[in-house]
């Protein structure tokens, strides 16, 4: 079959218009494939009009390509997977040192201040009541330690809350990176 046959050319021209939303490389391959199909089918002895009719209207064939290539949810999945891993690696690079500093500083300040504050408060109360077995373990008046203890607990609690907030933010950022990315229009 001569590929320059006007019926073939008219069909291919209509199809080219119908798949105008695809990227140029896809468009070229699609048109070549349909030309090949027509050539193979006519070479196998099928009449050209039957072959064209079997392909269906060029508009409908174009829409079928658009549905598969532009709207299919799995489209571009491998590219998005690569993008996702780049984002995860980027997050690790950017967040590793801040996370180390935040966890070690806020964690140690939080735990030690809360524990020390509680201990100081209890010691102050026992000393004020005169029942503490080792007087002057803390070299401050009991009244001061009674107020100093809760202040230390507050500082430690603030550090722990800040650490929790930081960890939640990091987890949210990582989850966002791991979440599948919706398909985008390949024509963009």
């Amino acid at each position: 079959m001569n590929q320059q046959h006007p019926v073939v050319e008219r069909y291919v021209t209509h199809l080219e218009t119908a798949i105008g939303g695809l990227d140029p490389a896809d468009r070229r391959e699609v048109l070549q494939e349909i030309r090949n199909h027509i050539a193979e089918a006519t070479a196998a002895g099928r009449p050209l009009d039957v072959v064209i009719k079997s392909l269906g209207p060029a508009d409908a064939l174009g829409r079928a390509y658009a549905v598969e290539l532009l709207l299919h949810p799995q489209n571009d999945r491998p590219r998005h997977a690569a993008e996702r891993w780049f984002r995860i690696v980027g997050l690790v690079v950017v967040l590793s040192i801040p996370t180390l500093v935040a966890v070690s500083t806020l964690g140690s300040v939080g735990i030690s201040f809360v524990a020390s504050g509680l201990f100081t408060f209890v010691v102050g109360v026992l000393e004020a009541a005169g029942v503490f077995p080792w007087p002057h373990l803390i070299d401050l008046p009991p009244v001061v330690t009674i107020f100093l203890g809760p202040a230390m607990v507050v500082v430690g609690a603030v550090a722990l809350v800040a650490l929790r907030f930081y960890i939640r933010s990091v987890v949210r950022a990582v989850r966002t990176s791991l979440a599948p990315i919706r398909a985008v229009d390949r024509s963009q």
């Binding site: 494939e33 349909i34 090949n36 199909h37 392909l55 079928a64 549905v67 299919h72 489209n75 571009d76």
Partner: protein, 116 residues
């Protein structure tokens, strides 16, 4: 294609299993569009039109389950062949497993009537 009273249902079913059929068809050797279309035509109820098969082939390629290469044809223009990628083989394995489970479930539900 014959239109039957269950035509719409058959059409939906065919569309669902067509991807499996194409991947299975290409498991052992590459094939080109026209050959794939005519092979599927010979499968009776599974026969799908060119306007379904060719777009699906392109999508499977876009999803990296298939890749293409060109080979000279004894007659006519060079053919564009499709072959399975490694990802396509994994996809085929996963779909075959799902299909097997689906067939067993349908067998139990419809044929043996285990589901009321």
């Amino acid at each position: 294609m014959t239109v039957t009273p269950s035509g719409d249902w058959t059409s939906q079913l065919r569309r669902g299993v067509l991807e499996l059929c194409i991947l299975r068809l290409l498991r052992h050797r590459p094939s080109y569009g026209y050959e794939i279309v005519t092979t599927l035509e010979a499968l009776g109820p599974l026969a799908a039109g060119e306007n379904t098969v060719y777009p699906l082939l392109r999508r499977l390629k876009a999803d990296h389950y298939l890749e293409t290469f060109t080979r000279e044809s004894p007659a006519g223009p060079p053919r564009q062949y499709y072959r399975l990628t490694q990802e396509g083989r994994r996809r085929l394995g996963a779909i075959e497993k799902d299909w097997g489970e689906m067939v067993q479930a349908v067998e139990r539900a419809v044929v043996k009537g285990e589901v009321a």
